[in-house]
C-alpha cells in the first residue's frame, strides 16, 4: 500500500511499532459486516511513534512521541465525547449518511472497521494516519515494552468496561462467556474489581487454562451444561453479572441446535448474528442481575427471549468501548504492576506474515489466542 499522508490539521502520522489481530477483525474477515472494499486496511489495535503532526495537533503531540491509538476516533468536543461516550462520538464518522441509515444515528469513526464506521484505514500497516490525533491517542512512557502497552488500544479497556458496566460488587458471581482475548481481560478486570467467584465459559482447553490461571472456575460447554453448572455454583440462583465476550459468532455445534439455525439464516442473510450466548445469559442470569455485552453484534439477532429478560428485571449494558475513558487509569495499573496484559500474547510475527496469522487465529490452530504483529 502507499503510505498515508496528512489530510487535515488535526491529523498525525505514526510509524507503527506493534499491532495486533482482534477477534472482531474476524467478523470483518468473514464478511459479517458487508461494508468492506478491496484495498481497505484492517487493524484497530495499534501503537507507534509519531513521525508527522498536523498544525492543529501540535499542541498535544510532537514527533517522536510514543503513543497507543484507541480503536475509537474521538473529537473530544461533541456532546457525547464530553459525556465520556467516546465510541459514539458525533463527529468522527466520515460516512455519517451511511451509518445514519444503518444505525439510526451514526456512531464514532473506528480504525479498520468497515465503511459503516468511517472506512478509516486500519493499523495493520507500517504507517497509520490518525485523524483527530490531538484527542485520539494515549501517550505512553518509554521503558515499558510494547507487549504491555499495546492492548490499551482495545482489549484491555474493553474487558475493563465489560466488568465496570456490569457494576461488579464484592461477593458477586460473575460469569463470562468466551475466553478469547477480551474475555481474558474481563476475567482479570472482574478479579481486580473484587468479584468473589469468576466463572469462565469456553470449549478450547488452552483458553480455559489461561482463564483458570487468573482464578476463574471454568466450564467447558462442549462437555457440560452451562446452565446446570452455573446454577450449581450459585446455589441455584444464577450469576449476579453475566458478561458476553463472544458477540455475533457463537460456536456452531449440535449441542446448541439454535446455533445451527442461526448459522443457516446468517448464510442466507436472513439474520446477521448468532446470539446463542445472549439467549443463554438471559436464561441463566439471576433475576435483577446485569447483562454486560462487549462482544460485537452486527445487526439483526433473532429469538431474543425478551419475556425472560423483562420478567426477571435484568439490566442490559452494552457498547463499543469508550476507550479513553479508561486508559489513564489502566496505564497507571500497568505501571503499578497490578496487571500485565502481555500474558495474552501467544503468537508474535512479522507483519508480512499477516495472512498466515489470520488463518492460524481464525482456525484456532497452534493454540492461538492472540497474535501480535510487528512491521
Amino acid at each position: 500500500m502507499s503510505d498515508p499522508e496528512i489530510e487535515a490539521d488535526r491529523d498525525a502520522i505514526i510509524k507503527v511499532t506493534s499491532c495486533a489481530i482482534c477477534g472482531s477483525d474476524l467478523h470483518l474477515f468473514h464478511n459479517l459486516i458487508p461494508a468492506m472494499l478491496p484495498g481497505d486496511i484492517l487493524g484497530h489495535e495499534t501503537m507507534g511513534e509519531v513521525v508527522e503532526v498536523g498544525n492543529a495537533a501540535k499542541g498535544s503531540l510532537k514527533k517522536g512521541d510514543r503513543i497507543v491509538i484507541p480503536f475509537t476516533i474521538q473529537c473530544g468536543e461533541c456532546d457525547q465525547c464530553r459525556r465520556g461516550n467516546f465510541s459514539v462520538c458525533e463527529r468522527t464518522n466520515r460516512k455519517k449518511e451511511l451509518a445514519d441509515k444503518a444505525f439510526g444515528h451514526a456512531t464514532a469513526g473506528l480504525f479498520g472497521y468497515s465503511h459503516l464506521t468511517g472506512g478509516y484505514p486500519g493499523g495493520q500497516a507500517e504507517y497509520l494516519r490518525v485523524p483527530f490525533a490531538d484527542t485520539t491517542h494515549v501517550k505512553v512512557p518509554d521503558g515499558i515494552d510494547d507487549e504491555k502497552l499495546l492492548f490499551l488500544s482495545d482489549i484491555l479497556p474493553t474487558g475493563w468496561q465489560a466488568a465496570v458496566q456490569a457494576d461488579i460488587q464484592p461477593g458477586d458471581t460473575v460469569a463470562i462467556w468466551g475466553c478469547g482475548p477480551v474475555g481474558q481481560m474481563a476475567i482479570r478486570s472482574a478479579v481486580l474489581l473484587g468479584a468473589e467467584q469468576v466463572v469462565a465459559i469456553d470449549r478450547l482447553p488452552e483458553r480455559l487454562s489461561m482463564a483458570a490461571a487468573a482464578g476463574a472456575i471454568t466450564i467447558d460447554f462442549a462437555h457440560e451444561s452451562v446452565v446446570e453448572r452455573l446454577n450449581d455454583l450459585t446455589g441455584g440462583k444464577g450469576p449476579h453479572r453475566c458478561i458476553d465476550a463472544i458477540g455475533t459468532e457463537s460456536h456452531v455445534n449440535l449441542g446448541q441446535p439454535d446455533t445451527i439455525l442461526d448459522r443457516a439464516k446468517q448464510m442466507l442473510l436472513a439474520e446477521n448474528d448468532r446470539p446463542h450466548v445472549l439467549r443463554e445469559m438471559i436464561y441463566v442470569c439471576r433475576p435483577a442481575g446485569v447483562i454486560s455485552i462487549v462482544g460485537v453484534y452486527t445487526g439483526l439477532a433473532d429469538k431474543i427471549p425478551m419475556g425472560q429478560a423483562m420478567n426477571k428485571g435484568l439490566t442490559f449494558r452494552m457498547a463499543q468501548t469508550h476507550v479513553p475513558r479508561w486508559t489513564g487509569d489502566l496505564l497507571r495499573r500497568i505501571e503499578d504492576g497490578q496487571i500485565d496484559p502481555s500474558f495474552v500474547i501467544t503468537h508474535k510475527a512479522d507483519l508480512s506474515q499477516g495472512p498466515e496469522m489470520y488463518r492460524t487465529f481464525r482456525d484456532k490452530a497452534d493454540a492461538c489466542i492472540k497474535v501480535m504483529l510487528r512491521p
Binding site: 500500500m1 502507499s2 503510505d3 498515508p4 499522508e5 489530510e7 468473514h30 458487508p34 461494508a35 468492506m36 472494499l37 466520515r94 451511511l98 472506512g119 494516519r129 465496570v164 458496566q165 457494576d167 464484592p170 481474558q184 482479570r188 478486570s189 478479579v191 481486580l192 474489581l193 473484587g194 478450547l204 482447553p205 488452552e206 487454562s209 489461561m210 483458570a212 490461571a213 487468573a214 482464578g215 448459522r263 448464510m267 435483577a288 446485569v290 428485571g313 439490566t315 449494558r317 504492576g337 497490578q338 496487571i339 500485565d340 500474558f343 495474552v344 501467544t346 495472512p355 498466515e356 489470520y358 488463518r359 481464525r362 482456525d363 484456532k364 490452530a365 497452534d366 493454540a367 489466542i369
Partner: protein
Amino acid sequence: MSLTNLTHITRSEGDPRVERKGQSSMIGADRLARALGWFSVGLGVAELVAPGRIARTLGLDDKQGLIRAYGAREVASAVPTLSIDKPIGLASRIAGDALDLGTLATGLQRDNPQRRNAAIATALVAGITLLDLTAFFGVKAAHKREPTSGRDYSDRSGLPRGLKASRGMARQDFETPADYRTDGTVANAVPALAG
C-alpha cells in the same frame, strides 16, 4: 453485484492505494471450493430455469420435477460452499454428486436414444465429484485444528501480584462511574431490607 456496490460505498480519496498484491490467506483448496460454489450457483439456476431442456438432452423426460429439485439443492449447497463453512457445503455437494450419478445411471440404458449425452454428463459429474472430494479434503486439512493444540497456559495469570492480593485491588482507588451503577435499579432497590 455485491452489497457494497448496491450501497455505493467508496474508499476516500486520500486513503492509501494498493500498489501491489501480496500473499492471500486463501489456499488453493479454498479457491477451488469457491469456484465449485459458483459452479453450483450456475448449474442450480440452469436446472431451476430449464429442467425440461436438460431432461430432454439426457433422455430423462420423465424426471423434470426431480431435476428442478436438484437445482434447488445445488443452490442450497452453494451457500455454505461460498461461506467460511466450506466443508459443510462441499460435503453436501458430494452427497448431491452421488444423487446425480444415480439419476444419470438410469439414462445409460440401451433403450435411451440420448444415451451418449447421458454418458458424457456422467463423466462430467464424475470429474466434478473428484474436484469436490479434492476441495473437501484440502479445506479440511488446511483449516484443521491439530489435536496437539491443547496447549496449557495455566502459568499466565496476568496478575503480577498474585491472585489473592489482586482480588478487589482496584476497589481501593476505583469508583464505578455514576452512569454504570446499577443500584437504584431493581438490582438493589431496597438495601435496607437486607439488614
